[in-house]
């Protein structure tokens, strides 16, 4: 059996890779992709904890289900916003939507 810590390290690595993508990507859609990676790493964590530490309960599974659902809803809304922003700026570069600048 793989020790729990390996899975957790894997999910942590995925989390930080997603974070790197969030910091560096200029395109809004790719930022969204990185966010999805982060959410998935969290899902792996939940499931792993459920399987290894509390196998007689199902809470981790439920959390994962709900996270997937909510991630889907959030991605949809994000795409809608991106499309709206694209209409006004004609670009999905995150730096072009800089109206909050000084």
């Amino acid at each position: 059996m793989i020790p729990l810590s390996h899975i957790l390290v894997l999910s942590a690595a995925l989390f930080f890779i997603g974070m790197y993508g969030l910091f560096t990507r200029r395109n809004m859609i790719t930022m969204l992709m990185a966010v999805e990676l982060i959410l998935n790493s969290v899902n792996i964590n939940f499931v792993a904890f459920n399987k290894y530490l509390y196998p007689d309960k199902l809470d981790g599974i439920f959390f994962t289900l709900f996270v997937i659902t909510i991630a889907a809803a959030e991605a949809a809304v994000a795409i809608a916003i991106i499309i709206n922003l694209y209409r006004s700026h004609h670009s999905i570069d995150a730096e072009d939507a800089g109206e909050m600048k000084f």
Binding site: R25, M31, A94, F102
Partner: protein, 634 residues
């Protein structure tokens, strides 16, 4: 108390509401207030002198006292009113002359605009003068001193569209302000040593050479002169500025640019005697220091002499009267200083105050008469006047009485007061006595030069339609002439003396003769030269050559002042100070601002609006903090 408040109320009313609502009635309101105030003042003085004697001494009565600004245990600024002999006399004088001026202004200033402001300023002036006279606290005196200065500035510059008037009012204010600097330092010195600002306490502490305070003050010295002398000299300097004593007299002739009733009120009877009053108020302290008394005597005498000489040459009627005022104030000053004699002690003080009292009457009468003359002739110069005795008989009579009074001819008012002054001078200091004699002769000469030039010299020029002054202008003149005649007979010495005890005075006939003879000689000389127009005056002035020119140009004192201020002060002190201010101080401030904005520009770049940057900063901060907290700061 209401005596003080009535003019204040009038001022406030007129000042605030005058323009829109009351401009028609402004004069009447002010005059009414003044009438009430005068009535109250006379009543107050009467009740004081009538009933106030305790053990044969007129004690000071403190009407009220209100603590305003306490600094420390004994030193606090209080507002109060004190009635003692000189204060009672002064409020009567101030109120009466102010009332006369108000009545005259009702007639004289009818055609002017901004009347409400004029009456408001007059009320303010009366209020400040009364406050000054009645103050119990030396700082309150200083406050009212400055208020008097302000109101005189407002009144002199009343015709503010005339640049000469504006310049004159500025000059008056600046010169008196400059003198007040000395006054303030004197006050501070006195307060420091005696730990009190209250006048009766101060006099009590310093008036006796044996008290701890006065010994401390006499002991402490600076540049060889004791602190007491410094304080008194500085006080006197302040008084000298306000009273137009040489060398701070330069503002008085120029102040004649104001309306003539103003000159009558301020520069004849009230403000210019503020300095004399101040010396009289602090008299017990001044008399402690013989050196300061001598200085006051000599400066007063010198001022009187210089003014008299200059007055002999001036051609503007108001300037002649201004220099005459300066000369008479010099008289009053050195009279106060003549008190240290062993024969008839206390005479100088009484004589000085008595002269103040009588001078108020005849000088304001002279100014009011001058006002009437100027009103008729529409010019101030002597050349435009002549032979007016037929055209304005009442003014002629009043002016004649006033000239006789100022020349010291018996039995008019000036004779009595001048006699007492000269007697005191004779007893105390022969040199000052000689100067006083000479000045009285000159006074007679130039006053009658003025009189003859105006009323006799040539045939009257044709003035179409100019009437002599109306009733409103004649009434004050009549009242003041009566005053000028009878004031001399008032038993003044019974009431006003240095230490409150009544003094017996008499006219020393032997001493009375020389001044009167000299006065008559002066009158005769003036008559000879000026009664009929001839070329004697011109020949005399040509013969005296440069002396005459120097006197005519007021001894170039104004020019010296201008030179000192422009060439020396401005260039040596003013310019470098301005340079430092602009290039050092401002540069430092601007540099600070510039640096701040430069830093701000750099910092602003952080607010780029790019959310990714924000996220990065946030996470970076969290990471650093984590590392720090866990591994560095255990």
């Amino acid at each position: 108390m209401p005596v003080l408040l009535l003019p204040l109320v009038s001022f406030v009313l007129l000042g605030i509401f005058g323009r829109r609502y009351l401009s028609a009635a402004a004069g009447s309101i002010a005059t009414l207030a003044m009438l009430l105030a005068t009535g109250l003042a006379i009543y107050c003085a009467y009740s004081y002198f009538d009933g106030g004697k305790t053990a044969g001494i007129y004690n000071a009565v403190i009407a009220f006292r209100y603590e305003w600004l306490p600094f420390s245990e004994g030193v606090s600024i209080q507002m109060g009113a004190i009635i003692d002999p000189i204060a009672a006399m002064m409020i009567v004088v101030v109120c009466f002359i102010s009332l006369m001026v108000h009545i005259l202004s009702l007639g004289y200033m009818k055609v002017e605009g901004r009347l409400h402001a004029y009456y408001a300023f007059l009320s303010l002036f009366t209020f400040s003068m009364l406050g000054l006279v009645l103050s119990t606290n030396i700082f309150q005196l200083y406050i009212f001193w400055e208020l008097v200065g302000v109101s005189s500035y407002l009144l002199i510059g009343f015709y503010f569209d005339k640049p000469a008037a504006v310049a004159a009012s500025k000059k008056a204010f600046i010169v008196t302000r400059f003198a007040d600097l000395g006054f303030l330092i004197g006050i501070l010195l006195l307060a420091f040593y005696t730990e009190t600002l209250d006048i009766p306490t101060l006099i009590e502490r310093l008036g006796n050479a044996n008290t701890a305070w006065s010994m401390a003050m006499a002991g402490a010295g600076f540049m060889g002169i004791s602190a007491l002398s410094w304080a008194l000299l500085l006080l006197f300097a302040g008084g000298a500025g306000k009273s137009a004593i040489f060398p701070l007299h330069i503002w008085l002739p120029d102040a004649m640019e104001g309306p003539t009733p103003v000159s009558a009120l301020i520069h004849a009877a009230t403000m210019v005697v503020a300095g004399v009053y101040m010396v009289a108020r602090f008299y017990p302290v001044f008399s402690m220091d013989a050196m300061v008394m001598d200085i006051i005597a000599f400066i007063g005498a010198a001022s009187a002499l210089i003014a008299a000489v200059i007055a002999c040459t001036q051609t503007d009627i108001k300037r002649v009267l201004a220099y005459s005022t300066m000369s008479q104030i010099g008289y009053m000053m050195f009279a106060l200083a003549m008190n240290g004699s062993n024969v008839e002690p206390g005479l100088g003080f009484t004589a000085g105050m008595f002269h103040l009292f009588t001078h108020a009457f005849f000088k304001s009468l002279l100014f009011l008469g001058a006002g009437a003359i100027i009103h008729l002739v529409h010019s101030n110069e002597l050349q435009a006047m002549g032979g007016l005795r037929k055209r304005m008989p009442l003014t002629h009579a009043a002016f004649f009485i006033a000239c006789l009074a100022i020349a010291g001819i018996p039995p008019l008012a000036g004779f009595f007061s001048k006699e007492e002054i000269l007697t005191a001078a004779f007893n105390a200091n022969r040199l000052v006595y000689a100067v006083g004699l000479l000045v009285s002769a000159l006074t007679a000469f130039y006053m009658f030069r003025l009189y003859f030039s105006i009323f006799w010299a040539k045939e009257p020029a044709l003035h179409e339609g100019h009437q002599e002054a109306g009733l409103l202008m004649k009434l004050p003149m009549v009242l003041l002439s009566i005053g000028a005649v009878i004031a001399g007979w008032a038993p003044f010495a019974r009431f006003v003396t240095a230490d409150g005890r009544p003094l017996q005075t008499h006219i020393d006939l032997l001493l009375a003769v020389p001044p009167v003879t000299l006065a008559v000689l002066g009158i005769g000389l003036a008559a000879m030269l000026y009664k009929k127009q001839n070329e004697w005056p011109a020949r005399l002035s040509a013969a005296m050559g440069s002396l005459y020119t120097a006197a005519y140009k007021k001894f170039y004192i104004d020019e010296i002042y201008l030179f000192v201020t422009k060439k020396i002060l401005f260039n040596a002190i003013g310019r470098p100070a301005a340079w430092i201010d602009r290039h050092v101080v401002d540069a430092a401030m601007n540099g600070l601002a510039h640096t701040t904005s430069a830093i701000a520009v750099r910092i602003r770049a952080l607010q780029s609006g790019k959310i990714q940057n924000y996220t990065l900063y946030f996470f970076g901060g969290v990471a650093i903090l984590t590392v720090l907290l866990l591994f560095v700061w255990k």
